[in-house]
């Protein structure tokens, strides 16, 4: 080979590399442009719901208390988030609401609303709005001048939204919202004797058993159910992962070239693994939930089936890479086949298998959340339910925090076990 041909070769190679270096980003850019239009990203602007975004953001860190007056009979009810579970008992009220013939609601910063046959709202810096809701409409009287855009008034309905809260009057109902920062009734609901005590008062009270039971059975946040849901999710991951490992181990031997000389058996085992992996976890979940109904068992079995395929492939490959020398050594001392497996093969593959299984335990905790959302079990179910109602975003936030914590704890646990069981043995 002469220098000239070598130079030519090198030049051709460099030219090709240049082309690839240029073409790859261009192709990627072209693909992304195609996707941009295929997914109708430009049309997204019309679909984005800013109202929803506001509700969501506001709800995650604050809650509102509804004071509602039935305009036909004058009855007033006060409910946190408007839920039955958060309703104040008749005759009881928070200190910013004064019940009486004309109930007064203090929204803070000088915003004062008086309910009754005539509803008055004193808005600092604007004036007083009055209304006499009745059969003929809401009969609202606004201060003179142009109507500001935070007041939405018509014959049968008026809505006033200020920084302090919100007043809505219709012919039949008058409703006041006041917003508070925090998560409402997280520890105790209104029917618990502990709900308006401070931390020091609680410690002084001493009835810790009663406190725990009121907290644990909190009807608004259902702490007991949430704890169970978390346990169910971890249980799905645990049963699914280890169940799959137990099934996949003997089948892995069957699929390994050096342990199964019979080609047909090997082929069959491998195709079973491919099938289990290829039919996705989604499909297994659907099929199994038809037979077993929703719940943690269905989730466990779905994870087990999918992962049997994955583990089978990993295990059989690990077995094919086993070092023969140790087995030969054992054979030379007269070990029987079973002893050869026990002392020649198992010690070699245990670290690989264990580390893979523990790795999947963590990743399956996430899958279990997702499967729970599809089949109806565990924290995934609670999360989807809370999202579907589209109003309890503080609960959604709570569940998300719990899920992230759960996955992170499982991650550190699996990492700790891996270090303990695999490398820790030597030290």
């Amino acid at each position: 080979m002469t220098t000239a041909t070598l130079t030519l070769q090198a030049e051709r190679l460099i030219a090709r590399k240049k082309l690839v270096a240029l073409a790859a980003p261009l192709l990627i850019a072209a693909y992304l442009i195609y996707v941009f239009f295929a997914f109708d990203v430009p049309g997204l602007r019309d679909r984005v719901s800013l109202d929803n975004m506001n509700t969501l953001l506001r709800d995650t860190y604050s809650y509102k208390t509804h004071v509602t007056q039935d305009n036909r009979n004058g009855e007033v009810s006060i409910a946190i988030e408007g839920e039955r579970k958060g309703t104040y008992p008749q005759g009881d009220s928070p200190d910013w609401v004064k019940l009486g013939p004309a109930t007064s609601v203090d929204l803070g910063d000088g915003h004062l609303i008086t309910l009754g046959e005539t509803v008055r709202y004193d808005i600092p810096g604007y004036g007083t709005v009055t209304a006499r809701p009745g059969r003929s409409g809401v009969n609202a009287k606004l201060p003179p001048g142009a109507v500001p855009d935070w007041i939405n008034a018509s014959r049968n309905r008026i809505a006033i939204t200020t920084d302090a809260g919100r007043l809505t009057i219709t012919r039949n109902r008058t409703e006041v919202f006041r917003y508070f920062t925090g998560w409402e009734l997280f520890f105790f609901t209104l029917d618990s004797p502990f709900h308006d005590l401070s931390l020091t008062q609680l410690i002084a009270n001493g009835d810790y058993g009663g406190m725990w039971s009121d907290f644990w059975n909190n009807k608004m946040w259902r702490h007991a159910d949430v704890a169970w849901a978390l346990v169910e999710t971890v249980l799905m991951a645990f049963l699914g992962t280890f169940g799959a490992a137990i099934i996949a181990l003997p089948m892995g031997f069957l699929a390994a070239r050096n342990f199964t000389p019979l080609g047909a058996a090997r082929f069959a085992a491998r195709r079973i693994f491919d099938f289990l992996r290829g039919v996705d976890g989604l499909i297994w979940t659907i099929v199994l939930s038809r037979a077993f109904g929703p719940g943690p068992l269905t989730g466990s079995l779905a994870i087990m089936l999918t992962d049997t395929g994955t583990f089978g492939k990993i295990f059989s490959e690990a077995l094919e890479n086993v070092d023969d020398k140790q087995i030969e050594g054992l054979t030379s001392t007269g070990a029987k086949p079973l002893q050869r497996y026990r002392f020649g093969v198992i010690p070699q593959i245990t670290p690989i298998l264990l580390s893979q299984v523990l790795y999947y335990l963590e990743s399956n905790t996430r899958s279990a959340t997702i499967i729970g959302a599809i089949t109806g079990g565990g924290i995934g179910l609670l999360l989807t339910q809370a999202i579907i109602t589209q109003k309890d975003w503080e609960e959604v936030t709570y569940y998300i925090v719990l899920i992230v914590l759960m996955v992170m704890i499982m991650d550190s646990l699996s990492g700790w076990l891996r270090r303990r069981l695999i490398s820790g043995d030597a030290s």
């Binding site: 990627i28 992304l32 997914f39 719901s49 975004m53 989604l282 037979a291 989807t384 899920i403």
Partner: protein, 290 residues
Amino acid sequence: MAETVQDIRTEYVAAMRQKRVLNMLLLVIFVALMVAGFATADARNAGGFWDGWRNVLDFPGDVIGEALSRAQLLPGYFLKYLPSLIETINIAAAATLLGAVLALFAALLATRGLAPLPWIVAPVRRVLDILRAVPEIVIALILIFLLGGGPVPAMIAICLHTIGALGKLFSEVNENASLKPVEGLASVGASWLQRMMLGVVPQVAPNYLSYALLRFEINIRASAILGFVGAGGIGYDLRNTMSWGQGKFDEAAAIFLLLFGAIVIVDQLSSHARNRLTHGKAYKDKGAIL
């Protein structure tokens, strides 16, 4: 102290016995956990295992039966649902591409010795941990509420998760990269971006690509699942066709087959490409452990 062979042997036997007892104990605890766990799961499930397992094949039987009785319609269904399948694959591909590019930068920032500012390593790692820990479905469901249904929420959700997962793997690869090219580039006055793009990325590109391909396989499955909860693509069609009493099980069967085929083909292609990337052209394909 003179140790006789006898002493050593007794010590060894005692140590062995202790280890065996410990292993036995671990095994007993493990078996107890499995049994108790199974019993709990069984008790809390809507239908029990022992009643349900005989019905496992009922639903697949119905689907297959209906599909076989109208087998001549299957090719038509394949064509009908092909656009949905392409959408599912597009969601996965776009999310993997965007996620991999963002993960590349995140990984460079999360590697000690490569990050331009040393203090940035820890916060970037925490962000990656959180991105990885949030399941896609959580982000997708919230985004569906905000952006309406369709492929974009699913793509963003998968993309965020991909950044977290690939960012961690990439930064592990970076840790094994040689720093000599980086130092050489620094000595001739290259900027941080130039040092990374010319000094680090060429070393790690094959591993990066291989991980990204593996992620693509995972993301196709994720994209099908997200469709099932309302994010478009073939998962959505699957959910509509397999509800009871619609008589559309033949269409569901066609979708099952399409999805299965797509997953198997992508898995095969990607595992072939990954083998070539990590072992070079000459490597005989026998599947790599990842």
